[in-house]
């Protein structure tokens, strides 16, 4: 079976010792690979970090890309502004 053209993979690292705790970081990669090796694209970004305490407890922190969120908010505001102006003109 040939490899899929678009593949989304979530990968975790080996445990990193941080003091008494252990840390595991995760990333998610979107791979686009054309059937013949004409080219490809890889978009890899951090997703989350898990911290495990010596007593067995653990918690996960998401890694949020604030720059991209603000960027998308700016574009959404621009689109909303244009939409409102266009509708006001047609009233």
């Amino acid at each position: 079976m040939p490899d899929p053209i678009i593949r989304v993979e979530t990968k975790a690292s080996e445990p990193i010792r941080a003091g008494r705790a252990q840390v595991i970081v995760r990333s998610r990669a979107v791979r686009i690979q054309l059937p013949w090796p004409h080219g490809g694209l890889i978009w890899n970004r951090p997703v989350s970090v898990s911290i495990y305490e010596p007593d067995g407890s653990g918690y996960r922190l998401p890694v949020r890309d604030m720059t991209r969120l603000i960027e998308l908010a700016l574009m959404a505001l621009a689109g909303l502004w244009l939409f409102l102006i266009a509708n006001r003109k047609t009233d």
């Binding site: 890889i42 970004r45 911290i51 922190l61």
Partner: protein, 140 residues
Amino acid sequence: MVDETAPTASTTEKLLDPTDSLEIVRETMDQFLATADVQAVYGEPVQNGDVIVIPSAEVLSVMGFGVGTGGGRDESRNLNGGAGGGGGGRVLSRPVAAIIIQPDGAYVEPIVDTTKLGLAALTAAGFVIGMMLRMRARGR
């Protein structure tokens, strides 16, 4: 009488065989696809006293290749051929956050790229102004 300029089958195959080029392309693609690993996103932990900092970044890699071969016979019926190839790629990386690990807990400190946001704001503003001018021109 033997025509010494007549190409043999092995010569023909050698002229048109793109195996070496394709092998290089495949090897480079394998290395390129290996960047989809977690090590490409997170840096080495940096420790200062009891505090450990793990930097993280977003990585975008794009690569493309092209290989071509061709051949034919000239007026003297001699076989001519050639092969060529080319490729290019780009890797873009941008810091996203720093993971701070302290004895009393851990937290994620986002890294805001003000330059990118400034460019995005200018682009959005330019687009909005352009569309408004266009709508005003249509309204006249």
